[in-house]
Amino acid sequence: MASPIAAWRRFLARPNGDRVKTLGIAFLVAFCAALLVSTASVLLKPRQQAHIEAARQAQLDRMLDTLPGLRDLMLEAGVDALQTRLVNLETGSFATGIDPATFDPRAAAQDPATSIDLPPEADIAGLKRRATLAPVYLLESDGELKVIVLPVEGAGYQSTIRAYLALEADLNTIAALTIYEQGDTPGLGARITEPAWAALWPGKQIADETGEVVISVVRGQATTPYEVDGIAGATRTSNGVHNMLRFWLGPYGYGPFLETLKAEGL
């Protein structure tokens, strides 16, 4: 039995054209590269996550600034931030007993105890799993809802798109849609983050008179209050946003919650 060092020397001494050496070097280089990349990725993850979290918070603040009169309303109500409440998506009512500050939506969506498997035919946003609870941000004054912000997410072209959907008090008019995280093609799909595209959303209606969710991202020119122009050259990103909204406003998303809220108020 030769020692590993001697075996290693014999391997290195083989001619470079040798098949064993070629395969061995290819494997070793790939292995070391993979080790290096995964180590860096794992070690730096917490720092990157903190930056993304800060960017998300800043994005939410910026979105609040774009909503007309919202800051005045907040000033009137004497608050400097929106209230965070947890919603049980199954029952459609507010969840009690859990502190929203300690709730981590991404961890909850991974844990089988706090999430459900989505049936494939309902999973139009490509999420596979969805947490049972979801945080919503709202502003009320004198017990009356002024604005509510719903976090949504769905598969884009090559990344997960995460966004905030702000609804006005009638729960049918979009106040703003802002994408705070995505990794689609810069210059094409990534244009969903541009202010010009975000400006298309305010005032759009989610559901028609019969209550059916009809909001769409369409190719070409939007003609009705239920349609928003897609981005030319980024059909799959546009479809991703479309499916994301349809999913989260539907029966597996915030649909039941919005129904309850409309019927019973806060």
């Binding site: 054209g17 050496k21 790939a30 590269a33 990349v37 990157q48 810069p186």
Partner: protein
């Protein structure tokens, strides 16, 4: 002393961007401001030095048949690591550089130095050669970035230098400087200036100009 030549030669005399015209894509894309140009320069120089060191160290054991794929694997791994570092420590700038850090993998400059120099030379000269080429690339990027930021926004590193009319000053920013074509123009002028100075860089024309015989008149 002769080792130092590897660092100084690529600065201007054998500059990878202005003489060899390599790495142009990123030179156009990231030079809208000095901050992005500097970050990109540091990232590329780091990748060049590290890949030169690794490839040169194992050069005698890289089978010729798979040498390019081995080089690209090493370069790609280093680029991903640099990208992760930028995302962790320079989040805002890494967002502005978007895919261009990742595209260092396909930068001809990196593979060119690996294949052309590091594969045949010991570690120390290879690292110095990588450093020199990285600095040569950085120099051009910083010059183009400084010109574009100064004329396009009146600032350097985000600090106001020429007061723009929007701030109540006299300077009207040139919108063209914010667009990629302006980098082409500046780069072209740079190449022209350098080659007018160092005429040795001028190449013989590939085709001689020929005056066409005049068409017979009726």
């Amino acid at each position: 002393m002769s080792l130092l030549r590897h660092v100084t030669a690529p600065l201007i005399a054998n500059n990878p961007v202005t003489l060899q015209i390599l790495g142009i894509c990123s030179a156009l894309a990231v030079t809208t401001s000095l901050a992005t140009a500097l970050t990109m320069s540091i990232a590329l120089t780091a990748v060049l030095c590290a890949s030169a060191a690794i490839i040169s160290a194992i050069r005698n054991h890289i089978p010729a048949s798979i040498r390019l794929i081995v080089q690209i694997t090493i370069v790609a791994a280093l680029v991903v690591v640099i990208d992760e570092f930028l995302k962790a420590y320079a989040f805002e700038i890494s967002g502005r550089l978007s895919i261009f850090v990742g595209l260092i993998v396909t930068n001809c400059l990196v593979l060119g130095r690996a294949e052309g120099f590091a594969m045949h030379n010991p570690v120390l000269p290879s690292v110095l050669d990588g450093l020199g080429n990285g600095l040569g690339y950085s120099l051009i990027l910083l010059v183009v970035g400084a010109i574009r930021e100064l004329l396009g926004a009146g600032t350097l590193f985000g600090q106001s230098v020429l007061r723009t009319t929007a701030e109540g000053g006299w300077f009207e920013p040139l919108g063209l400087m914010a667009l990629a074509p302006s980098a082409f123009i500046i780069l072209g002028l740079l190449v022209w200036a350098i080659r007018s100075w160092w005429t040795v860089q001028n190449e013989a024309p590939d085709f001689a100009l020929r005056t066409a015989p005049e068409a017979p008149r009726q």
